[in-house]
Amino acid sequence: MKSEDLISRLAADASPVKRLSHPIWRAAMWFCVSTAYAVVLLVGTGWQKNLSTQFSDSRLLWGFSAAMLTAMMAAAAAFCSTCPGRPLWERLAPFPFLLFWVASTIEGCRQDLALKGSLPVDAGLQLALPGKLLLVSAAPAVLILLMVRRGAPIAPYLTTGLSMLAATAIGAAAMLLAQPHLSNITLLIWQILPVIIFSGIASLFGPRLLYWSTISDLREQGH
């Protein structure tokens, strides 16, 4: 087929399209829905703590803030990465916050070591934490992946990895509120590290989840 003929066919096929909303707006929508979901989950599992009491613990406040900021920026970066032509630096947005989250937890470990002479380990809880993290993050992960599919799959590995980072970071933030007494070393190894690992594993599935649609796919979707 000649390119000129293809152009005629595409022009004949062209119907009005609903433009994609700004990526920041879409990220904000996802963040609000996922936060509401996390709150419902927390309340449903019997969480009745007073937030101001919980946040009087500076360790919890820093960890929670870092996790939420990582989630927010990862979501924004994921949506930006599906818009061709946007600056590449936007995709790096969550990493300073992730780094701060890791660094603040490591600092907490250092303080624990200095204060108590050893790193307190929460016996019996560790192995269940990554599984709980996945369960809590599942719905936000599915939602964000459905939303990013509307964009262009120009960076499938990165978009999927960032989406999973956003979902698991919000899950980790919710678990911090549900289990505020976990030690820093437990959080580092059994919560933050799984967030990074799950995001890395998810990114490998990028091309399978985010791929270029064909014209017949679009017709079936009613475009």
Binding site: I7, A11, A14, P84, T214, I215
Partner: protein, 198 residues
């Protein structure tokens, strides 16, 4: 001596403004604007792909893939942002995808210098027999309906995958499979009929 930067940028700025306007209209359903836009960007895409794939025979195929991809994600263009970065990101991405696909396909191919000889149950075919057979196959292909012939040409002669052929024709993968199956059945019946007459 080159032009001052401001002067050399003026045609580019005018082109950018024009393409932004056409793209906005295309998103709103203006088919004439869309056709004009795609026609105007075609030479740019050809040059861009040819630069990256110098001497390659698949430049036009990659350009068509870019056009198809642009069509499927035209809703992602933000009219408040420049058009060229949007276009060239898609072009670069699809070119890389095509290069990777060709590389993985070539990795599975074996270059054979000497073709293995095949012999029929009786005597070996002479050159005239081979020419006759090729003509017979051409006739078998020509008698097929357009859709079936196109499917066979793309997938069996040009070697496109189902997905690539689907993108090129706009037909679903299931429909292409049915077309190829019917085409091969039709060609087999034609050949059997021809052999009976011989």
């Amino acid at each position: 001596m080159g032009m001052p930067k401001s002067e050399s940028n003026q045609p580019n700025a005018a082109r950018e403004a024009r393409w932004r306007k056409l793209m906005r209209a295309a998103q709103d359903g203006d088919r004439a604007a869309y056709s004009m836009l795609l026609t105007e960007i075609l030479p740019l895409l050809r040059r861009s792909v040819a630069r990256k794939r110098q001497g390659s025979a698949d430049v036009e195929d990659i350009v068509q893939e870019i056009l198809l991809s642009l069509h499927t994600v035209r809703h992602t263009y933000d009219p408040n942002r420049p058009f060229m970065p949007w276009l060239m990101t898609i072009a670069a991405r699809r070119t890389i995808d095509a290069v990777r696909r060709n590389a993985s396909r070539s990795a599975n191919e074996v270059i054979v210098d000497v073709l293995p000889e095949t012999f029929s149950a009786g005597e070996a075919k002479n050159e005239q027999d081979i020419v006759d057979d090729q003509e017979f196959l051409r006739q078998a292909l020509a008698q097929l309906p357009d859709g079936q012939r196109e499917a066979v040409e793309l997938m069996k002669l040009k070697g496109l995958s189902l997905q690539e052929a689907s993108k090129a024709t706009g037909k679903s993968i299931a429909s292409l499979k049915v077309s190829v199956h019917r085409a091969i059945k039709g060609m087999r019946e034609f050949i059997d009929e021809g052999n009976r007459r011989r």
